[in-house]
Symmetry: C2
Subunit: 457 residues, 2 copies
Amino acid sequence: METWKDYQKKNKERFLSEMIELLRIPSISAKSEHKKDMLTCAEAVKQSLLASGADKAEIMSTAGHPVVYGEKIIDANKPTVLVYGHYDVQPAEPLELWHSGPFEPVIKDGKVYARGSADDKGQFFMHVKALETMVKTNTMTTNIKFLIEGEEEVGSPNLRKFVEENKDLLKADVILISDSSMLSMENPSLDIGVRGLSYIEVEVTGADRDLHSGTYGGAVANPITVLSKMIASCHDDNNHITIPGFYDDVLEASVEERALMNKAPYDEDEYKKEVGVKELWGEQGYTTNERTGIRPTLEINGIWGGYMGEGAKTVLPSKATAKISARLVPNQSSVKMTKLLLDYFKKIAPPSVAVKAFEHHGGEPYMTPIESKGYKAASKAVEKTFGKTPIPVRGGGSIPICSILEKELGIKIIFMGFGLDSDNLHSPNEKYGIENFYKGIETIPYFHKYFAEEQIK
Amino acid sequence: METWKDYQKKNKERFLSEMIELLRIPSISAKSEHKKDMLTCAEAVKQSLLASGADKAEIMSTAGHPVVYGEKIIDANKPTVLVYGHYDVQPAEPLELWHSGPFEPVIKDGKVYARGSADDKGQFFMHVKALETMVKTNTMTTNIKFLIEGEEEVGSPNLRKFVEENKDLLKADVILISDSSMLSMENPSLDIGVRGLSYIEVEVTGADRDLHSGTYGGAVANPITVLSKMIASCHDDNNHITIPGFYDDVLEASVEERALMNKAPYDEDEYKKEVGVKELWGEQGYTTNERTGIRPTLEINGIWGGYMGEGAKTVLPSKATAKISARLVPNQSSVKMTKLLLDYFKKIAPPSVAVKAFEHHGGEPYMTPIESKGYKAASKAVEKTFGKTPIPVRGGGSIPICSILEKELGIKIIFMGFGLDSDNLHSPNEKYGIENFYKGIETIPYFHKYFAEEQIK
C-alpha cells in the first residue's frame, strides 16, 4: 500500500495549484458587493471536498453567507473529528500596499502571496488534502466531518443558530482547527487558547454639518478632538487600560504558566525588526508574549473624520468615527465587555457632541486543556513530523465560534495551526509558506491516527 | 444721467446669471486634477473684467495658479482702490452631503447654492458688476485695480512674490476685500481683522505595515491611539490650549474692545440651533464672539488611519494622520507658531512610533484701524444702503495675504464682506443670498465715492 508520504509527494504540485485556485475567489464576507463571490467560493469548497473523497458535501444556507458541510464516515464506532475552517477572508484594503493583487496569487521565495492564503483558505485546505491522502491510500483512522463557514471574519453571526439546529449532523469527539500560527518551523507550537473579542464602532457628531474652522472653530466642539480625548482616556501612561471594570473578570495566569510562556523562544530585537519599529509598546509589567497572550487589550482599528484629501481644507468637521476592539481573556465575557465599552464611550462624551455606538461582533475567549486526548494527539503528530515537541502557547487572535462550538457540541477544540505570525494576516501581502502548507498536510493524518489511538487507550 | 440704482435694477438678472456661470467652473486650487479648470476660470474672470469696462485685464502667471489683474484708470490724480479677491474655491468633499452638485448652481429660497458662491466668486464678482455700473453710468470716482488670485484656499504660496514683483502695477491708496461675512442683513457689520493661520499635517507610523490586531495588538504601538493621545494633549479640561508657548505672543484685547464685541447681537439658543448642537464648546472665560474673534484656536481638520470601510477589520494599523490648524491673533507670528506646532508634535511622540510633520500653509493675523479713511468710507457706504451703522467685529477666518499686501504695498486693507456665517463656507451646500449679492453691488460704488471724498478732506 502506498504511504501517505509517497502519495503526497506525487501530488504536491496539484495540491498547491488547487489551493491557489481557491485564493483567486475574492470571498470578502464583510462587503455586500462580494455576495456572489461568497457563493462561488462555497461551491468550490464543496467540489473540492467531493473530489477529495468525501461521501457527501453540501452548501447549507444561513441568514448570512452559507456554510459548507462535508463528511467521510468510515465506521460509526470509530471516533469522529470535526474540522472547522472558514472560506471567507478579510477585506484587502489598503490595496495600494499590496505588491501583487490580493486575489491574484503569486509565488515568491517559497510563499504564496494572496488574501486568505494563511487565513484560512490555505490552512483548512490542508485538511481537505489530508482527507484525500487517507482516502486514496485507504488509511482512514477516524470519521471526518467538515464545517467550513463563510462568516468568521465578521464574527460568525449566524453560526450559533446553525450549530444549534444541526447538532446531530455535527456530532463528533473533537474539533480540529487550523486557523492559527506556530512560533516557527524550527520551534513548533500549539495554541492552547484564543482571545475573545468585543468589536464596536463609535461615531461622534458635533455640528450638523461641516463648518468653516475660522468662523466656528473654538466655539463649537470638534468631534475629532473629542473622539481623540475619548480614545486617549482608555490607556494610562503605563498602557494599562483605564476603562472602569475592564480587568474585573480577568483570570490571572498562574506563575507557572507565565514562567512557561516566557521560556518560549523570543528575541526582542528580531521581533522589533520583524514589524519595523524602534521600540515596543505595551502594558507595563508584562512581556511581549504575555501582552499578546494572557492580557486583554484595546485597539483602535480605524478612525476617520473631516478632510482626508490632498492639500488643506480649513474645516471644522461634523463627524468623527472610530472602529474599536478589545481582545479578551478568560474569564471575560464578550457580551459584558461589549456593553462596558459601549456604555463607556457614551458616558464620557461631553454634552457638546452626540455619540452613537454600536457593536460589530464579538466572541468569547477559549482555552483548551493540555491534558485532553485531542491535545496529546496533536502534540504527538507535530512531534512526529517536526521532530520536536511543540510548545503550548496562548494565541492572541480570536475565533469567536470556539466557545459556541464547545457549548453546543460538548466537545473540546484543538488548535493545530501551521501559519506564522509574520504571514501578514489581515494585512497587505498576506502569505503562506508552501513548506508550511505541505507540512500541515503531512501532519494532519497523524493527528487522526493518534487521536484514534488515544480514544481506545 | 442714469442712476446706479436704475442701471442695476435693469441688469440684475444678467448680473446674477453671469455670476452663476462663474460658479459652474470647478476651480479647486488644492487638487492638481483641476489645473485646467483653474485656467478656464481665470480666463472667464479676465473676460468679465473686460466686458464690464476695465481698460485692460490679463492673466499673469505665477509658479502656481495664475493671477487675474485688471484696471480702470480714470485719472492719475484720483485715489486708487485695489480690489482683492480669489477665483479658487475649497474642495467640495464630502460630496454625498450636497443636495445638488457643488458646481451645478441651484437657486432655492433666494440663495444660490454652489461651491464658491459666497467664498469668494459671488463676492468678488460684485466688484466687477459695481465697476460696470459706474462705467456705464459714467460715474467713476476712483481708479480701480483688480487683483483676483487663484491660490487663496491653499494659502497664497506664490502671491508674495507676485506682489513684490508688481509693486508699481498694484500701487493704490487702499485695498478693498469682500471675502468675509456680516452679522446679518438687519445688523450689518464690518470686519476689522482676520485671524492668522498655521496649518500642518502630522503622520504617525507604528509598524511598517498593517498587522493583525490579535497577534500584535498590545505589544506594538497603535498609531491611532498615539495620535489621539497627542491630539488630546493639546487642550485641557477648560479647552485652553496647553501647547507650551501657544499664547505667549497673544495681544490681549482691551476691556473696551471686549465690551464692544459683546454688545453685538448674539442669541446663544439661536446660534446652537443654527449649527445643530445642544451645547457649545470653547475656552473657559470667553464668550462665543471672543472665542472666534480675539482668541487663537486649534482645530483638527481631518484624521484618518486603519480600516474605514464597511463592517469590521481586526487590524492594528501602520499609520494614522491628522490635518491640524491653528487660528492666530495679533501679535502671533504664523512662522513661529507653525514651528511651535511642528516641534510639539514631533517632541511628544513616544519612541514606539515615528512622526512626520510638515506645514501646509500659513498666514499672519491682520487688523485694520477703524480710524482709517478706508474704514470710514466703508462704514458710511454700508450705512447708506443698509440704513444702519455697521458694527465693527473681528472675523474668525484668515486671509493670509493681508499682512503681505500691507507690508509690500504700504496701504491698509478694508474688509467689506456681504456674506453670512450661515453660508456654509468650506462646507457642503455653500450658498450666497441673492439679496446679499445685489446689496453688495449697490453698496460698493458708495465706498468709492466716500473714499474719494475722504481723500480730499
